[in-house]
């Protein structure tokens, strides 16, 4: 066996088996610390041994058995050292020779524990990425622009709270399930959004969906995050990692999609899980077309649709059709997925079924009457009834969205189309000052620049399809 083959096998095993190994060990030893530590050691052992010994016939079983042995070693070492009763108890608790892998699929327990509502959202995100997705501490720290030590401390604290406050390692009772599932989806969506449109340093606003594939998803209680106040604890406003210059962080979108696929495989009946997966796939499909070679954001209406990923689109559309066929009232993720399905079904921007999109936003507004949803609806309204009507529709949102760059960007585009250039320029200024993503800033700066040139006049005489769509890039 070549080293490359073995390396590829370890990579695949890591993707497929990490969460299974961690969750089985957490169940067996009652400790996330032990589980994480031992799983990491088992994968390190695979890296060392598979090139020489060959890939075992059942890599998952090999890893779980190895991890269990590492865990027992670790616990014996620790209990000798410190006389830690709790650790000794782990050893006496059950038969150590009991095969861990027979316990079954524990991954759902692990996911619900990592995403428990008693943990801070940023801690939930970190735990899910480390313990379920298997990202390294360095990868997570880099993705959220914080020092590795800071991220390590965040995860250590979260695990300590789970242990000390006794957050149970189990799937929630049926009556709590919808609420707890939506808590899990919130975490997954935040991870996806951070990868999809990364925020730069010093931009406390627009986290949690506000920058996402569809800004309307920001849960109501997060609306305050949009405001100019810098009070929100934000993963990573200080660190100087190079990720601040990446407008897209594909590692995070990939991790989010992988986790959502996992949750879907474990809860195939849940419509919102399917909706979120569809939303992610339909968004990810446009990734290659979203940022121009010069680093500028390309809005939906200007994207080269041939560069969209047909396989991801097909899978996303299939999920949306499945949900429509289910005949169950859709939740927010399903509605957002449907909106994205309408957008991505149009061969050209001017063939977009805007009436359907407005109807879907109406449906979403009934579930979530937030100003961000109203803003997105107004953008679609502009296509049906013109920029003047849309401008009137967003006027009442001014107070609520004063600190939200996409409110000003949307307003700027509408004013441009009405030929009110001076007001448009002021709105672009505001949007640029508030935008946190460099690709967005570059796009908005160019748009503002076009107001000054004669070229802008000829552009305004073109049919205004899609050009407004800064928030669904």
């Amino acid at each position: 066996m070549s080293g490359n083959e073995a390396q590829a096998a370890v990579t695949e095993a890591h993707r497929e088996e990490w969460a299974r190994v961690v969750s089985a060990l957490a169940r067996r030893f009652g400790s996330l610390d032990v589980a994480e530590e031992a799983a990491a050691e088992a994968f390190a052992a695979a890296v060392a041994r598979w090139p020489a010994d060959g890939v075992p016939p059942n890599p998952g079983a090999w890893l779980t058995t190895t991890a269990k042995r590492k865990a027992l070693d670790w616990i014996r070492r620790e209990s000798k050292r410190g006389g830690k009763q709790q650790l000794a108890q782990m050893l006496s608790d059950g038969d150590p020779s009991e095969p861990v892998e027979l316990i079954g699929d524990e991954r759902l327990r692990l996911i619900f524990t990592c995403c428990h509502p008693a943990l801070a959202l940023e801690a939930r995100v970190a735990l899910a990425l480390r313990l379920v997705a298997g990202l390294t501490m360095a990868e997570i720290a880099h993705a959220f622009l914080v020092q590795e030590s800071t991220m390590g401390q965040r995860i250590t604290r979260a695990k300590a709270k789970i242990r000390v406050a006794r957050i149970p390692y189990r799937t929630p009772a049926a009556e709590d399930l919808p609420r707890r599932v939506s808590g899990v989806l919130e975490v997954l969506f935040l991870v996806f959004n951070e990868g999809y449109l990364a925020t730069g340093p010093g931009q406390a606003q627009h986290r949690l969906g506000a920058t996402g594939p569809q800004a309307g998803v920001a849960p109501k209680r997060d609306a305050r995050r949009i405001g100019p106040a810098q009070s929100q604890p934000r993963p990573g406003s200080r660190a100087g990692a190079r990720a601040r210059n990446d407008p897209i962080r594909p590692g995070l979108t990939a991790a989010a999609i992988r986790l959502t696929r996992l949750v879907r495989s474990l809860m195939p009946e849940d419509g919102e899980v399917a909706g979120l997966l569809a939303l992610m796939l339909l968004t990810e499909a446009r990734r290659a077309a979203r940022v121009a070679p010069n680093g500028e954001l390309v809005p939906l209406g200007e994207q080269d649709r041939r560069a969209w990923d047909a396989a991801l689109l097909a899978e996303g559309h299939q999920l949306v059709r499945e949900r429509l066929a289910a005949g169950v009232a859709p939740g927010r993720y399903q509605i957002l997925a449907a909106i994205n399905a309408v957008h991505t079904s149009a061969p050209q921007p001017n063939e977009t079924a805007w009436r359907k999109i407005v109807a879907l936003y109406d449906q979403l507004l009934r579930l979530d009457p937030s100003p961000i949803v109203a803003l997105n609806r107004a953008v679609a309204v502009a296509e049906l009834e013109g920029p003047e009507v849309a401008l009137a529709a967003i006027a009442p949102l001014q107070d609520a969205l004063a600190g939200y760059h996409l409110y000003h960007a949307t307003r700027a585009e509408l004013l441009r189309r009405l030929g009110r250039n001076q007001q448009a320029r002021a709105a672009y200024d505001r949007a640029i000052a508030l935008a946190g993503n460099i690709a967005e800033t570059a796009y908005l700066t160019r748009r503002r620049g076009q107001l000054l040139t004669p070229a802008a006049v000829s552009q305004q005489s073109q049919p205004p399809h899609g050009e407004h769509h800064v928030h669904v890039p």
Partner: protein, 112 residues
């Protein structure tokens, strides 16, 4: 596992008769289901006195040790198998007394 459920108040004043009745119902439930350890309500923060005798010379000062908008108005100590159980009970408690509560695990507890 024992948890402290602190009742957090914001100058709402004493519990109303309706709140008191709801608290009684909740207390009965805690007793009946084996979660009860103890509970109490506190007088207003301005009735507090601070004593510092760390150096063997008791210094008495008037008032709570820190002036805050939100303050501890009462507490339950409950017995619960895990945090999910504690949170469920605390949610009931919050509803019954019509105030916010905080749930915190005990490191140690001496009592019956």
């Amino acid at each position: 596992m024992k948890y402290l459920v602190s009742v957090i108040d914001q100058n709402t004043g004493l519990a109303t008769p309706a709140e008191m009745a709801a608290i009684d119902v909740f207390n009965d439930r805690l007793l009946a289901e084996g979660h009860w350890v103890c509970a109490g309500g506190l007088e207003a923060p301005h009735t507090a006195t601070v004593i510092d005798n760390r150096r063997g010379e008791a210094i008495v000062t008037d008032g709570p040790y820190v002036e805050t908008k939100e303050y501890l108005a009462g507490f339950w100590v409950i017995e619960a198998a895990d945090l999910d159980v504690a949170l469920k009970l605390a949610a009931e408690g919050s509803k019954s007394c019509n105030r916010k509560v905080e749930v915190r695990p005990f490191l140690g507890f001496v009592g019956k």
